[in-house]
Amino acid sequence: MSIKTVSRRGVLKSGAVAGAGLAVPTIFTASSAAAFTNEPTGSSVTLGFNVPQTGAYADEGADELRAYELAVEHLNGGGDGGMLNTFSSKVLNGSGILGKKVEYVTGDTQTKPDAARAAARSMIEKDGAVMITGGSSSGVAVAVQALCQEAGIIFMAGLTHSNDTTGKDKKANGFRHFFNSYMSGAALAPILAKNYGNDRKAYHLTADYNWGYTTEEAVRTSTEAMGWETVAAVKTPLAQTDFSSYVAPVLNSGADVLVLNHYGANMVNSLTSAVQFGLRAAEANGKNFEIVVPLYSRLMARGAGKNVAGIFGSTNWHWSLENVAGAKYAGTNAFVQSFGQKYGFPPSQAAHTVYCQTLLYADAVQRAGSFNPCAVAEALEGFEFDGLGNGPTLYRAEDHQCFKDVLVVRGKENPDNDFDLLEIVDVTPAAQVTYDASIFGGELGSCNPGA
């Protein structure tokens, strides 16, 4: 019989091994509990809606919030279901997302990148938002997208039109449903050529910031490719309110088309100045002088009143699309009915894009079976869907940009009311506005699940 002596060192070693053995499942449990940032553990899940509630784009932000509220209502089984009834994916059944009731918090971007980041950070850190969405400016979208990438949160962009959002500044955690400057140029150019001919001289007035540059470049490239000449391109300060000194020399510049690469108040003011200076009624080079506004916003076009009449532009979506262009764009009428019944007026393109983004996120989570951002991103990448009002659409895996038909619109001569300002002239097929994902540079990087 041998007696094994128990040494102090032996006890410590055995204890350490036993402790580690006991701890292993706990570590795994802990790991799975915090596998990604803000993993929902209760019976509800919180989404963060980051929209401009103050500042110049507050009306657009208010329309986005209305659409978000409607989307949440539909996801939780309320209302008439809206586009859930027409969406090609049928995994969402009105019981929230993965059985969890959808709740939301809101932030105010103020259309300032720093304020937007602060609001998003607060919703992520304090409110536990598992996804951030919204915004009405590319500067804000790029800033918030970068924050979400760092934080391990999915970002579903709102209204952002710059090529950079899914170009040089694209991120693996960020997704954009809205179209971009390149698509506007590619969609507009053939219509402009058809209506105004191939022998035109264009004068660009461009807002002096990122979106202005990418839009000018897109329109110039597309129009020059079909034979137009660019006479001049002048940068205008973003804070400019009176554009008379920029517009006045246009008529004597040799140009016969003025392209206003302006958005929001800039667009309203520059277009008003151009019409006041008689450009719409003028002739140059033996042709009627024409004005083009590459990106239209119905909400903001209201500010320009009758001045938009007859002026071409592009838009992501319009409430009359299904009635004008047919059942291919199913979902439009369902959304308009749902939104119109609740709020008394038709939704804007900003409202439409954020509603779609919310449904697309919820659907991706449902299909992935997880809120993990990497699983959601995988479900969204290369996802082809229909029934959300834009016809067949692809969420391209390479740059997280949606590809769908683009609308070319024209200001109505005799609108019936404030919502009836634009008429759809043409719907450009997605194939015609699709480009190589590498042309705008940038790297998606890898998905970040956070914690």
Binding site: P237, A239, S273, G278, A282
Partner: protein, 343 residues
């Protein structure tokens, strides 16, 4: 040559807006010694007097038109202004069309009232406080006013077109024997310039040729002595504050067809107006008008494509560059007086 004449016209037009706002600003500073950062908000309130009157004139009742459908497919409800019922459609439409000029009559009492209320209710408590306190309180007031407007009218711009009679442009080139279309200028901007000239002239005439104006000018020079003569100078200064508010408001009323008003338009003009006042000389009324036009013309020339190509970005800083040069060479501004804001 055409381009130069065109930019001079543009400059005069821009300058008339700057001059009108700066005139009221310097009037308040000259009389009350108050640096009023809410003055831009008064310009904005004037513009919203137009919007308000337009809305009053277009107050409507709904008539269902079964032949047309709304966006939900229901029979369209057409708004018919009550004014059509009262005056008939033709006269009613003409009254609505002339809403902007009619707003002048509406804005004068409203803006004088707002000015007097502002002075009696808030500003008078800050007369003896440092300029920094005055700036803070008036700036705060400006933010409150614009947020109130945003709450009621929204953040987007609201169109307020000129009467049909003034839509279109005048061919200056043809008038002066140049090539047709060489220099065209919008009718309404010409109207705005003429209106500004009349208003500026009226303010100067009021101060120069009336007893009230004489007392105010005396008060501006030496408030205490005028008070010792038994004249209630405070009451006159309150009225001057109301007049300054009305001048800013009328500038806003007539500006609405040039740029559709929004809640922020006052702030857009505020900084530039202060530069105009400082360049013109603190407290100098002719200085404010002169500087308004000088800076307006300079800004227009700096916006020319040829100038921007030569000096990129100059269009964004020209006014401030000019201000630096003028203040370095004439520290009291173009027509500034010794002793103003130098204590």
């Amino acid at each position: 040559m055409d381009a130069i004449i065109l930019q001079i016209l543009n400059g005069l037009d821009k300058g008339s807006a700057y001059a009108l706002i700066a005139l009221g600003l310097t009037l308040i500073f000259g009389t009350l010694g108050v640096v009023n950062f809410a003055h831009g908000a008064l310009f904005m309130l004037g513009a919203f007097c137009t919007v308000t009157l337009s809305r009053i004139l277009t107050l409507s009742h709904e008539v269902v038109d079964p032949t047309r459908k709304d966006f939900l497919g229901n029979p369209l409800k057409v708004d018919v202004p009550y004014i059509y019922d009262i005056f008939g459609e033709t006269t009613g439409a003409a009254i609505i069309d002339w809403a902007v000029p009619l707003s002048i009559l509406f804005a004068i009492p409203v803006m004088i009232g707002i000015g007097v209320l502002m002075e009696r209710g808030l500003i008078k408590h800050f007369y003896k406080r440092p300029h920094a306190d005055q700036i803070l309180v008036t700036f705060g007031l400006a933010i409150v006013l614009q947020e109130i407007i945003k709450y009621y009218f929204g953040a987007n711009q609201i169109p307020a077109p000129a009467p049909q009679a003034f839509v279109g442009s005048l061919d200056f080139g043809a008038i002066f024997g140049m090539e047709p279309g060489a220099i065209i200028y919008p009718y309404w901007r010409i109207v705005y310039f003429c209106f500004a000239m009349v208003l500026i002239g009226a303010v100067f005439a009021f101060l120069q040729f009336t007893t009230f104006g004489m007392v105010v000018r005396a008060g501006m020079a030496d408030r205490e002595t005028v008070g010792l003569l038994g004249i209630n100078i405070d009451r006159r200064f309150t009225i001057m504050f109301g007049i300054a508010a009305a001048v800013a408001g009328l500038a806003g009323v007539m500006y609405t067809p040039i740029n559709s008003p929004n809640y922020h338009m006052g702030m857009d003009f505020l900084v530039i107006s202060f530069v105009v006042v400082v360049v013109g000389g603190m407290g100098s009324l002719p200085g404010a008008v002169l500087a308004g036009f000088v800076l307006g013309v300079l800004e227009s020339f700096a916006s020319m494509r040829q100038v921007i190509e030569l000096l990129p970005g100059v269009n964004q800083v020209v006014i401030y560059l000019a201000a630096i040069v003028i203040l370095l060479t004439r520290p009291r501004g173009l027509l500034g007086r010794r002793g103003v804001m130098e204590d």
